[in-house]
């Protein structure tokens, strides 16, 4: 895999130099991982920033091309490519926001998970928590007797927060590794698993969680 990225984007340069296929591939991979993972993953802020810059460049190029007499078929192909990249970007951000909405109390009580959010996502998460707390208090909790008014605990005698919906980390996911992974132990069993590149495996997400985060294994 080549590692060049669009570092000198000249408008009159080659179109291929404007779209770094590596970056779009990276975005596709990040999007796939995010889609398949039950929990929210680390925000790829550098990648997203580059992609947004490239999308802007592509839009300007397409506008120029469509006015300059290049045949409409080529223009619509470039437009198609632009649309596809934009879909990936939007879907990536959308999936993350929806995960935040779904597991809002888990996220606001867990600083490790919070560190995976971007700045804007943190702001969104804060507002979601406030809205949800207010909604639950007004509809349910204000009508209940005193010791039972906590949002996260069932009652005042609960020892820990026992009413927080959490992502199911033991769902099965389909994954593959990009290189040879030596035998490693699966969570909760004595089996050792070896993974060859491009082998597809179906495993508990929990067992491969760290490797996904480090980029050794991709979800499909």
């Amino acid at each position: 895999m080549t590692s060049e990225s669009a570092s000198t984007p000249g408008i009159d340069g080659d179109y291929e130099a404007l779209i770094s296929t590596t970056d779009v591939e990276l975005l596709k991979r990040a999007w796939r991982n995010e889609k398949a993972a039950p929990e929210i993953l680390h925000f790829e802020s550098a990648l997203i920033q580059r992609i947004r810059g490239q999308i802007q460049l592509m839009e300007e190029t397409v506008e120029e091309f469509s006015g300059s007499g290049i045949d409409p078929l080529s223009v619509s192909l470039y437009q198609m490519d632009l649309d596809r990249t934009q879909y990936l970007l939007r879907s990536y951000l959308r999936i993350r926001l929806q995960k935040i909405e779904k597991y809002i109390f888990h996220i606001s009580n867990n600083s490790e998970v919070q560190s995976r959010l971007s700045g804007q996502e943190k702001g969104f998460a804060r507002r979601c928590t406030e809205d949800m707390e207010r909604h639950l208090e007004e509809s349910v909790l204000s009508k209940l007797p005193d010791n039972y008014r906590d949002i996260l605990k069932q009652s005042i005698i609960s020892e820990e927060n026992d009413m927080v919906p959490e992502p199911h980390l033991d769902t099965f996911v389909v994954c593959k590794s990009r290189r040879f992974l030596g035998p490693f132990q699966l969570d909760g069993s004595d089996e050792l698993l070896e993974m060859k590149p491009d082998d597809l495996c179906i495993i508990h997400y929990k067992s491969i969680r760290e490797r996904v985060q480090e980029g050794e294994i991709d979800l499909v």
Partner: protein, 197 residues
């Protein structure tokens, strides 16, 4: 029997069509909260009896203790059912915000309680503010694109719409060739349909 009414509330949730809201059952909801207050009163009077007999509340294991335990457990179960009811409805409301946008059609709005309407408005605003800070509309582009432009037929009278550089009259039954992202919001509200093939 304790917990029957709360069970009915949750059953209503489970038996409705997936993704659809039934009208907010405030009657049943209030009955369950009344039951909770009742449980609490019984619980308190039983605890008081233990204290009056001079026994330690934490460690006594007599019939009053077990009676109060049952009331406590019934209360907590009712609480879980009520929270589940509100929580799951809120989830459906959020999915509607993604699908339909910040304005709800009348028939859905009638099924929400007053607090749910407030939640809807507040959450829509939160989403809008997040998207405007990102400078991206995330409610379009919901399916992977096949064509940049699609043909649509207008189902309901939308009237004259100003877009980008031109005004178009979207009269009923007229057909148009639009950019996919522009047409999406009309399609998701059922005002237009995509013509395939």
């Amino acid at each position: 029997m304790y917990g029957r009414k709360a069970f009915q509330l949750v059953k209503e949730l489970a038996s409705g069509e997936k993704g659809q809201l039934t009208p907010y059952n405030s009657d049943l909801f209030d009955q369950v909260t009344a039951e909770c207050s009742q449980h609490h009163l019984e619980l308190q009077s039983l605890i008081r009896k233990i204290q009056e007999e001079g026994l330690d509340v934490q460690t006594t294991r007599n019939s009053e203790h077990y009676g109060s335990l049952i009331h406590h457990l019934a209360l907590v179960r009712n609480k879980r059912c009520l929270m589940a009811y509100v929580h799951n409805r809120a989830e459906i409301i959020r999915s509607l915000i993604w699908k339909v946008g910040p304005v709800l059609p009348q028939e859905i709005q009638e099924r929400l309680s007053h607090t749910e309407e407030e939640y809807f408005k507040r959450h829509s605003a939160a989403l809008q503010s997040c998207m405007s800070r990102l400078d991206l509309d995330l409610t379009v582009d919901m399916v992977p694109p096949k064509d940049p432009y699609i043909q649509v037929r207008v189902l309901d009278d939308i009237g004259v719409v100003l877009s980008d550089d031109k005004t178009t009259n979207f009269a009923r039954h007229s057909m148009h060739f639009l950019k996919r992202t522009d047409a999406e919001q009309f399609i998701s509200r059922g005002l237009m349909e995509e013509l395939t093939g």
